[in-house]
Amino acid sequence: MPTDVLTPEPSTTTGAPHTVVRRTRRRVTPGRIAALVVLVVLAVTWLLPFAWALVTSLKSEAAAGSTPLAWIPADGFRLDAFTSVLSEGNIPQWTLNSLFTATAITVVTVATSALAAYAFSRLEFTGRRWLFVVVIASIIVPPQVLIVPLFYQMLTLNLVDTYWGIILPQVIAPAMVFILKKFFDQIPEELEDAARMDGASRLRVFTSIVLPLSRPILAAVSIFVFIGAWNNFLWPFIVTNDTSLMTLPVGLQTVKSAYGVQYAQNMASALLAAAPLIIVFLFFQRQIIKGIATTGFGGR
């Protein structure tokens, strides 16, 4: 298992270019050509649903619903589906709801997990060992098992159909505590001792020494939590009935049936919902790929 993100070494903290030494047998052989062909077929297959959705979304509803299938519609490409989805539907509202709830979930999750992970890593407090065992054991609990008691709890607390009701049950991420603790364990304690001798408090040491050294892992964890929260369906679906509070995945599911046979609009909404995370990915590609490779977690 690669562990470079998990070790706070200069190469990862100073942003030195990460070059992978790979076998360089670049001779063109029949085997390599065959491999290339297979790769192209696979990549085209994997991109096909995106392409078909895009082409459909750019057709008129009449063209989208007619046979034989055409990649280039007879009546030309148009943006009608996008403009009507954006002007009539709730997609802008749902995007804001998703952005707000996913951001809040990410901030609370990462802040509380990092503090707890530091306590579990460095501070000898009463019950630390068995508390950590309990937290790690809870990674096994499938969130699906908790839908009924959680919904009952939200009913009791009067949080059904509120942002709090969406956010609160999603802010506990024991797996992230585990990942962060493993990272903090590898930071040399001498770095902190120096500041402690100067009389810095634990909180001071944490914010001014530990957190800056942990930037790569914090970025990875934040992205995972954000992706997970942004894409989560089951819990927000259960806890919201009010259309104006729905997140994107939940809202899309409810309009899918309302649009019925409006295929172009269906695909336009799907693409609009997909776009934000794909853009995030293009920006943070390196962190996401390295994060997954080193932690084995992907926010789902």
Binding site: A35, A53, P174, E190
Partner: protein, 314 residues
């Protein structure tokens, strides 16, 4: 204070550890308070929204609680005895098991094939990665919208692509013989990129010298694949299989949205039955009982996997 001085002091304090007992005791009590304070926010949320629901769910499973608030009285084990005699629960568990087997195998093998091909170093690395991984970023709703459209019997791309091969149009999601396969194919497309990235990272960590040594001994590419690459990927394969089996057992979203468990219940996974018992049947107590049957299954599968991996590495 320079770090060098600090290091010297640390070294000193370590050698003089025994002499510093009182100081370290004071430090310990300060650490105790700080530790509790650092862990408190997380532990409070952990108790409120994880531990409490788990415990309360166990209680609910022994009551006749309904969504409307009525029937909260103790009913003993009757929810569990009902569940064990409920053919729909067994059917949904069997569907979940079938989905897990049908999805895990290609999700491991296709990911491995993709990683091996990309690792050959063929130009266009970012394009391969993007193509295979991008679907993983989509919400389940988007995936379901894309693929319901792909599988549309008259207007879908899947039938259009198969027509030249002489295959008659299939109503993939409405046909009992094909619905599960169709959902598995969608899941493969959606999530294989994650396993692909894990394999690719592992491949790039295999020491180059092993291949050089093998080449000197006259081993060809296929020989190298089976006697170096595949064995070296062993731990990664174990990790991927473990994560994949657990993820597949929890399947719900895409099936609920694409087939709603149908046709005729052939795709309904156990999580959907939990959801339906609680939120369309309004039977919280019964739904909680099925939840814990499912939870027990997850624990058993995890323990079995743990035992197998422990034995392998022993």
């Amino acid at each position: 204070m320079s770090t060098e001085v600090a290091r010297g002091e640390v070294a000193l304090s370590k050698t003089a550890h025994a002499a510093e007992r009182p100081g370290s005791a004071a430090r310990r009590s300060r650490d105790n308070r700080a530790g509790l304070a650092f862990a408190a926010p997380f532990l409070a949320l952990f108790l409120a929204f994880l531990v409490w629901p788990i415990a309360h769910g166990v209680y609910l499973s022994f009551t006749g609680q309904t969504l409307t608030g009525a029937g909260g009285s103790w009913v003993g084990l009757s929810n569990y005895t009902e569940a064990f005699a409920d053919p729909v629960m067994w059917r949904s568990l069997a569907n979940t098991a079938l989905f897990t087997v049908m999805s895990t195998v290609p999700l491991v093998l296709v990911a491995l094939a993709m990683a091996l091909l990309v690792n050959l170093g063929i130009p266009g690395q970012w394009l391969w990665r993007l193509s295979f991984f991008m679907p993983f970023l989509l919400a389940s709703t988007v995936v379901a919208l894309f693929w319901t459209w792909m599988y549309n019997p008259q207007l879908g791309l899947v039938n259009w692509l198969l027509a030249p091969l002489g295959i008659d149009p299939v109503a993939w999601l409405q046909d009992e013989r094909w619905a599960m396969t169709a959902v598995v194919v969608t899941t493969l497309w959606w999530t294989v990129g994650f396993n692909f990235l894990l394999y690719l990272a592992a491949l790039q960590n295999i020491p180059e010298q092993q291949y050089e040594a093998a080449a000197i001994d006259g081993a060809g590419p296929w020989r190298q694949l089976f006697s170096i690459t595949i064995p070296q990927l062993g731990p990664t394969t174990v990790l991927i299989v473990i994560l994949q089996v657990i993820a597949s057992l929890k399947v719900f979203d895409q099936i609920y949205m694409m087939t709603n468990g149908g046709p005729n219940g052939v795709t309904r996974p156990v999580v959907q039955y939990i959801f339906e018992a609680g939120f369309t049947g309004y039977r919280f107590g019964y739904s909680a009982a099925i939840s814990y049957v499912f939870f027990a299954l997850i624990i058993v599968v995890s323990l079995v996997q743990l035992r197998i991996t422990a034995r392998r590495s022993a």
